[in-house]
């Protein structure tokens, strides 16, 4: 891009200044982002509309629940465990300065359940399942398998997208719970095992501070993120054009957009819930 701009500037000195053009560029990307958001929401509405209609695609749904949920258990447990351990290690050393190590448990538990668990679980699902969804749907689109479905009077949104989006909606909250559990266990192991926090303190303090509401907040976020990332990945794949290269590009965009939307939605949902 940069070299292209430079070339343009050389060959056409009459063109508007770099500043004007970069402002225009930003404006253009904002406009196309808003447009794309509109298309995404339209697709979301279609997914709901076809989702409530018969026939229900149970087989496809169970396959996706298994793929998105069961398939992500190990990686989510592992991420949770290490996140909890790292977090406990750092916070224990920080709290040691104020002689407040008893707060390690509640701190880790609160931040995990409310923020880190849904965000990281959704990120792991995006990378593992979302990328696969996007490439699979993209390949089906560019090899006309989606068209073939349509010619056989099978609605591709109902057949392909609804099960995937539902799987994201149901499974990311469950994975969030697993993340919570393994994260707190990891924190316990580090805090009690290496930082000299007593087991009793860790447990009672955590119980004292951690409210079920905090866990629910994480679950709600998980559901929102799960819905958003699967919808984005399906959207990008479903609208892929231009062969293998197009599918690759769609997947890149799907990953970036999904990750961004997790962080943006995290903020929005956080504000709305309080």
């Amino acid at each position: 891009m940069a070299s292209e701009n430079a070339q343009n500037a050389e060959s056409q000195p009459e063109q508007p200044s770099v500043l004007t053009r970069s402002i225009e560029g930003v404006g253009q990307s904002v406009i196309s982002m808003v447009e794309e958001l509109g298309h995404l929401i339209t697709l979301g509405v279609d997914v709901v509309r076809w989702g409530v209609r018969r026939p229900y695609r149970w087989v496809n749904l169970f396959f996706q629940l298994d793929f998105v949920g069961v398939g992500s258990v190990f990686i989510v447990l592992l991420t949770g465990l290490f996140t909890g351990m790292v977090f406990a290690n750092q916070s224990a050393r920080a709290f040691a300065m104020f002689d407040a190590q008893s707060l390690v448990g509640p701190t880790v538990a609160l931040v995990l359940t409310r923020e880190l668990a849904p965000v990281f679980s959704a990120l792991m699902v995006t990378m593992r399942a979302g990328s696969a969804m996007c490439t699979e749907l993209g390949t089906m689109r560019v090899t006309e398998q989606v068209d073939a479905l349509e010619t056989m009077a099978v609605n591709p949104i109902q057949y392909l997208l609804v099960p995937r989006v539902l799987a994201g909606l149901f499974m990311v909250p469950l994975l969030t719970l697993l993340f919570d559990t393994s994260g707190i266990l990891g924190a316990y192991a580090v805090a009690v095992g290496t930082q000299g926090v007593s087991a009793g303190t860790f447990i009672t303090r955590t119980q004292q501070w951690l409210d079920p509401i905090d866990v629910y907040e994480g679950l709600i976020k998980g559901a929102v993120f799960g819905l958003a990332v699967t919808l984005v990945c399906c959207f990008k794949g479903f609208n892929a054009t231009g062969g293998a290269k197009g599918v690759g590009q769609a997947t890149t965009e799907a990953m970036v957009t999904s990750a961004l939307s997790i962080f943006i939605l995290d903020f929005i949902v956080g504000v709305l819930l309080h």
């Binding site: 390949t139 090899t143 006309e144 398998q145 073939a148 056989m152 009077a153 609605n155």
Partner: protein
């Protein structure tokens, strides 16, 4: 030959379609009578596939009407189109088999979707269509990625006709098949028309088989149909583009 005065099954009028600035179809008029076979000839990239996709509503025209069995499908939404598509089978140029399913499941797919049949009945129907296409039992559990191009094509053919549709659209059904299988597929299209009264639209590059199976040939060039009529009419066409196209084949054989 079919009675060409019978009511039209497919009626396209004033069809225009562009992709961006690229004008692909610029005013297509084509009528395919019920129970007849129409072959579409034309150079590579002349818009044959694009035209065929309009017949089944995969593409929406910028302008024009597409009437299938008396209903204009252009303004239809997805639900209404779904009903119309029950009348169709389509063979895609690149087969478009579901690569997550094996050969058997590909062919069984439309049956499972739309007919409440037992697995036994499905088995019989699938086997009969695979037999028709000369695909042995050993091919049933293979996945599309493991098939040769010609086999893939034949599976696509079997899948398109397994529901016994009223209309079958064939996008180059015999390209990439050996001469014997090509004759065989031509025979099948003819038989389908004679015995079952199926309306067929066939895109072909094979002029010999076009003249063999067609009631009507339409010649597509630069977005319009230059000539349309029975094979004899096409053969005596005065259009330079049509003459050049046909000469490549008749020139060698006459």
């Amino acid at each position: 030959m079919a009675d060409t005065s019978s009511r039209p099954m497919i009626e396209i009028s004033g069809l225009h379609k562009s992709f961006g600035v690229h004008k692909v179809l610029t005013g297509i008029d084509l009528t395919v009578p019920a129970g007849s076979t129409c072959v579409i000839l034309g150079g590579s990239g002349s818009g044959k596939t694009v035209m065929m996709k309009h017949m089944i509503g995969l593409l929406k025209p910028d302008e024009g009407r597409v009437v299938i069995d008396g209903e204009d499908i252009v303004p239809m939404g997805p639900e209404a189109l779904e009903k119309v598509r029950h009348k169709f089978g389509m063979v895609f140029q690149a087969a478009a088999l579901f690569d997550s399913m094996d050969v058997y499941d590909n062919v069984a797919f439309p049956l499972r979707e739309h007919r409440g049949l037992s697995e036994e009945e499905i088995r019989k129907l699938v086997r009969s269509k695979l037999d028709l296409m000369g695909l042995p039992q050993s091919a049933e559990r293979k996945f599309p990625a493991d098939l040769s191009g010609g086999m893939r094509k034949r599976v696509g053919l079997a899948r398109a006709i397994v529901m016994n549709p009223k209309i079958v659209l064939y996008d180059e059904p015999t390209t990439g098949l050996d001469p014997i299988t090509t004759d065989y597929v031509d025979e099948m299209i003819l038989a389908a028309q004679r015995e079952l009264g199926i309306t067929s639209v066939v895109i072909s590059h094979d002029i010999a088989s076009a003249f063999n199976i067609a009631d009507q040939i339409a010649f597509l060039n630069k977005g319009v149909i230059l000539e349309q009529g029975p094979p004899e009419q096409l053969r005596s066409s005065q259009h330079p583009a049509v003459k050049v196209f046909l000469q490549t084949w008749f020139g060698k054989n006459d």
